[in-house]
Symmetry: C2
Subunit: 83 residues, 2 copies
Amino acid sequence: MNFIAEINIMPHKELLDPQGRAVANNMKNINLAGISDIRIGKHIVMQLEAGSEAEAKDKVETACRKLLANLIMETFHYEIKAL
Amino acid sequence: MNFIAEINIMPHKELLDPQGRAVANNMKNINLAGISDIRIGKHIVMQLEAGSEAEAKDKVETACRKLLANLIMETFHYEIKAL
């Protein structure tokens, strides 16, 4: 079976996100007021083959923990859909 | 009213995503088979103030078009929730 996984990897809430802060500070330059907190992370879309949805979840979890996310600084969430 | 916007900015489907390709090639190094296509973009979470949901949408649309996304190479999708 083929699955598609959508993964969001975001900086921990407790950590300063300098990229987001810089973008927020620049919103006034394009005349947008009222935008306060911006946090920027990664969005990853992945196609994978697995025998079951549980196996697909396992694979995505392993990929996130071992390769995609830095768990000291980031958290991840994912959704899996069968194709 | 306060809103929270979740924005995904992804490289166009027609374009090669070298970052995603590199990650996909490395999946075999952590013993994960069957992962084919990976595309990597940005996930942005933004808090904003607006009078109505329509105004909030306007602001997010403007922010994406003028600052966050490069429309030549990227597409964006967003969801807005009232807080």
